[in-house]
Symmetry: C2
Subunit: 346 residues, 2 copies
Amino acid sequence: MADRHADKAPELDVVISSRVRLARNLDDYPFPFRMSNEQCRMVIERIKDAVFNSNNAMVKNYKFVDLQKLSPIDKQVLVERHLISPDLAEGQRECGAIISEDETISIMINEEDHLRVQCLFSGMQIDNAWQLCSKIGMVLEEKMDFAFNGNNGYLTCCPTNIGTGIRASVMLHLPALVMTGYIRNILEACSKVGVAVRGIYGENSEASGNMFQISNQVTLGQAEEEIIAGITNIASQIIEQEKTLRNEMYKQNAFRFEDRVYRSYGIFINARIMTSEECLKLLSDVRLGVDVGIIKDISVETLNELMILIQPANLQKVMRKPLNAGERDVKRAELIRSRLCKDNQL
Amino acid sequence: MADRHADKAPELDVVISSRVRLARNLDDYPFPFRMSNEQCRMVIERIKDAVFNSNNAMVKNYKFVDLQKLSPIDKQVLVERHLISPDLAEGQRECGAIISEDETISIMINEEDHLRVQCLFSGMQIDNAWQLCSKIGMVLEEKMDFAFNGNNGYLTCCPTNIGTGIRASVMLHLPALVMTGYIRNILEACSKVGVAVRGIYGENSEASGNMFQISNQVTLGQAEEEIIAGITNIASQIIEQEKTLRNEMYKQNAFRFEDRVYRSYGIFINARIMTSEECLKLLSDVRLGVDVGIIKDISVETLNELMILIQPANLQKVMRKPLNAGERDVKRAELIRSRLCKDNQL
């Protein structure tokens, strides 16, 4: 069965994760930004009821997270784990999230839309993510009426989401495309075919650590399957190019390739102070080394886990205490060593 | 007994080596630059005879090296090991060297002067080096007449060596003085008191890897013991300042200090391509880490050995084949890994 942390997720050497999210709104409430607190609470209850009182086996092992009751750091933990959006964490209104235990599924309530259903899988599993997301959408639709218009499809707060309400995205690790400069061609090509390219943390975030998130820009006028197929197609081409370039670079000058990987590895496991920005940069080289088989004693799963744990809020959660930026840089380096040493002992 | 590679040489955490050399000329030959080939050969034979037919126990385990018969790479090996000067290696005339098995003693024949006797010890052993050098000088003087003038002392080709003919030098590793910028004050102070400061390979060489060689500039008008005492005194003050600064820097920000050391260590033992310039830079940080006790599984002796083996000619000697610059950078990284892994297994 599809699992976020599946050992054998496809294309794990280039694709970090695949994500599909559905935007839906109840037809008997205004969009969130126009709702009263009372209405917000009622929407939250309606959706909780629909999820927790469903008889569908799929919906077990969820927990409801009341954003009003979370500390800023706990909210940020969820943002860094890609379980809620920065907007939801800012909490301009009463809102919440329903999150599955394995973190594959997250249902945001009263973000820009009443409902944002997200399914997140590791590797290239955009189809699995879509299947699960669609199924959850249908289960919920059995319990409530969504705002829908025969001409346009599902109605959403922002016009860019009207229609299917789908956003399908794939997080790609593209070091070879960046090193060779070919990433520029990719970015151009994507914008021409209506595919958005963003950094790790969505809109306005930079492409740290050679990570690029590609997603569909338009949700109107295409069937869900067409959107999924479109993103899958683009992603496959990029993955192919990235892999070809990696092989070419490695063949062309193995020592230089290994030198880059091992230097970053050496710093990564030895540094005593490390910013998250540098950490993502080094992680990219180390991941590349693991992907092409130069580094054998570290798993991709460990690197994926580290990529989240080194973020400020998660780091403080792991260390069980508040840390200022300087302290985090020290503890981040400590965490990396402890995780990779554990990994080495396996 | 004093030994070049003594385990417990004094001040080994700041002083790499101590060296004393004596310049002497036979009184019945012109200075080398004015000698015929025939005269050069005769001087070589005279000095060989004096050394090898000496009854003094001190002079056993020497070998004579005929510079004319050495390949350029073998000459460079000796230069890098500080056993002969670059000038002797260039070989503008017939010349040679008599070198003790432990490489503590090297007697150059027909360099700028007929005789250059050098004693090289690890750590702060300038007194031991002087004692041994002086003893060899006396043994030789029993067998031949040196050019000597009652007013000036020993006569030498270059006026700066006239008098005692002594140059006493100490090779210091001064990372903390460099990092803090205080090295400028040291350099100024040295020039004021007639102490020369040079890089690893003598005159005109840069201070790579935070290595500085200090030596007396004047040999005339001072007794040998005064010269030795003067250099010892200056060196002691510099050593003291370096140690104080190291402690202060470490106390002030232990994480930053360790971070610097460990990053260099990480690159040092992981890189696959390394120039000798970068190698000396990293060696400096690693040595500092060993000196202050951060890095425990590497010995200073191993680092001293590496500092020589990573030089171009010695590297080719170790690898037993000619290597171009690019190949050397790869083999240098390989050598470091193999040496430090061996060290780690101890």
